[in-house]
Symmetry: C2
Subunit: 299 residues, 2 copies
């Protein structure tokens, strides 16, 4: 299949590499030349021109937000795709936005798969993401060779766009709250003068563990805030969760976590790894965590 | 070994049964006759008299809180134990309380193990709890035959009481926040008219999962709030976390979850399963979750 992948961030890069390795004719695009370079170093073909997506059988979208996806899904780009092409949108967006994109794509006779993903950069790189998919049987059929390349779990959540994004909304609520909880737990462990690596080792065998504890906890214990997924991503994603809630009184945990990510972003941490919210909480407790750049300046 | 176990709730009962099955001479005590009956039905010997702990080589404490433990650890009971006996305190208490109990026990020449546990009722019943232990080498040595019977993981966190309870404090922060997050996620899924069992199935394979999501999520999807661990337990445990924090600004997630559990308790849910906080959030969103007794009254 001729495949165009737009957005070569931590998830898109892994997806592009796995599609390429599965034998597809892949071109990867990104606004960031460094992202293009990474894909080229892995043997992929890259382009900074969206026009190179013309005649693709599949368009995989891994950009940051709905606005970027909106710009990509222009009529001129869509009409340039091959007949019977499928648009696989892996961006975290509202269910309503997914429905809107699906209408736009289906109106010109192509297929749309609402296909948000989960698993983080490491699973993206090994082709082991989970896909929360919804769309027509034909959209799934056309997408399957690529989904098989990028994911080890593909959930079929409905025949209409929106159902996949609804599930992703629930996932992001939990993921965002859990990252904030890991940050809070590690900052408190620092205050109690505990060995943070020992905390990781013990709690991962206890009822307090979570996927995010095991994934983000080491970032905090190591003081490594190189962004795999940034603070600003969760400002956006918990905003989507808030939009989905009937009543903000029903999402107190989301609201508290969103405030934490938003405060971190305001203090200049927006592009740091999302686990950097631990630094904000540690500073509030008068604790110095490993890798705190502010603390180092004063040292 | 002659072993006395005080507190036959969901964790203590499992521990008592596993000590008994491991061949120890066990007597189980509880203020609640129903709890005594359960242990007897499992073949154990029970007593409603603390005095029956006399001459025990080990005293395992599984009561609800520090106040109850305080009453049990009277000088008359401690001096009635066998020489070289070990007190294994599995109650979730503050590190300072653990240090105080250790001093009291060690003053009369016995051994104290700060030994909070994790794993829930199911793992207690199969002898697969995790123990966050700290205490003297002799305390560990005396306790080992019993710890081996009740736990599959025993962490040695230090030679002084308090280190085990510090780790349990971190665990309970995460556990309590995660339960609140599960409740919020399931209430939002209800609002979005999603199939709650499908949510469990999908999210447990995604980055939003947690031990508590997989353990408490089914309670909510099934509307089964029979208490394995109650709302009031987390009012207490998140209070311990709050006490441990230097500054309440550093624990916003804990504070929000504590407020939720406290509100649930105030509205009469204190003795329901802790996952029942989902009902409070669902009602705030105008959503009816399975098993909501209020909703049924109005039906």
């Amino acid at each position: 299949m001729k495949v165009s992948i737009i957005g070569l961030g931590s998830m898109g890069l892994g997806a592009a590499i796995n599609c390429y390795r599965a034998g597809h004719d892949v071109v990867g695009s990104d606004l960031n030349p460094a992202a293009l370079k990474k894909f080229e170093l892995a043997g992929g073909r890259s382009s900074d021109q969206l026009a190179d997506a013309a005649n693709s059988d599949a368009l995989l979208i891994f950009v940051v937000n709905a606005n970027q996806a909106e710009q990509i899904l222009s009529e001129s780009l869509l009409t340039s795709l091959a007949p019977d092409a499928v648009v696989i949108n892996c961006v975290t967006i509202t269910p309503a936005a997914a429905q809107g994109f699906a209408e736009r794509v289906e109106r010109i006779g192509l297929h749309y798969l609402d296909a948000p993903v989960s698993g983080g950069a490491a699973k993206a790189m090994t082709g082991d993401m989970s896909v929360m998919g919804s769309g027509s049987p034909r959209a799934f059929e056309r997408a399957t060779p690529l989904l098989d390349a990028i994911a080890s779990k593909v959930f079929t959540l409905g025949t209409a766009a929106g159902d996949g994004s609804r599930m992703k909304t629930i996932n992001q609520l939990l993921a965002g709250v859990h990252i904030a909880a890991v940050a809070e737990a590690m900052a408190l462990a620092g205050h109690l003068q505990m060995d943070l690596h020992r905390v990781l080792e013990v709690i991962s065998e206890c009822a307090g563990t979570s996927w995010m504890f095991e994934n983000r906890g080491p970032h905090i214990a190591n003081g490594d805030y190189a962004p795999l997924s940034s603070v600003d991503i969760f400002v956006k994603d918990l905003g989507i969760v808030s939009d989905a809630a009937a009543n903000h009184a029903s999402i107190p945990m989301t609201r508290t976590a969103l405030e934490l990510f938003a405060n971190a972003s305001k203090t200049g941490m927006g592009q740091m790894d999302d686990s950097a919210v631990a630094l904000l909480l540690a500073r509030a407790a008068g604790v110095r965590l490993p890798g705190d750049p502010t603390a180092e300046e004063h040292a």
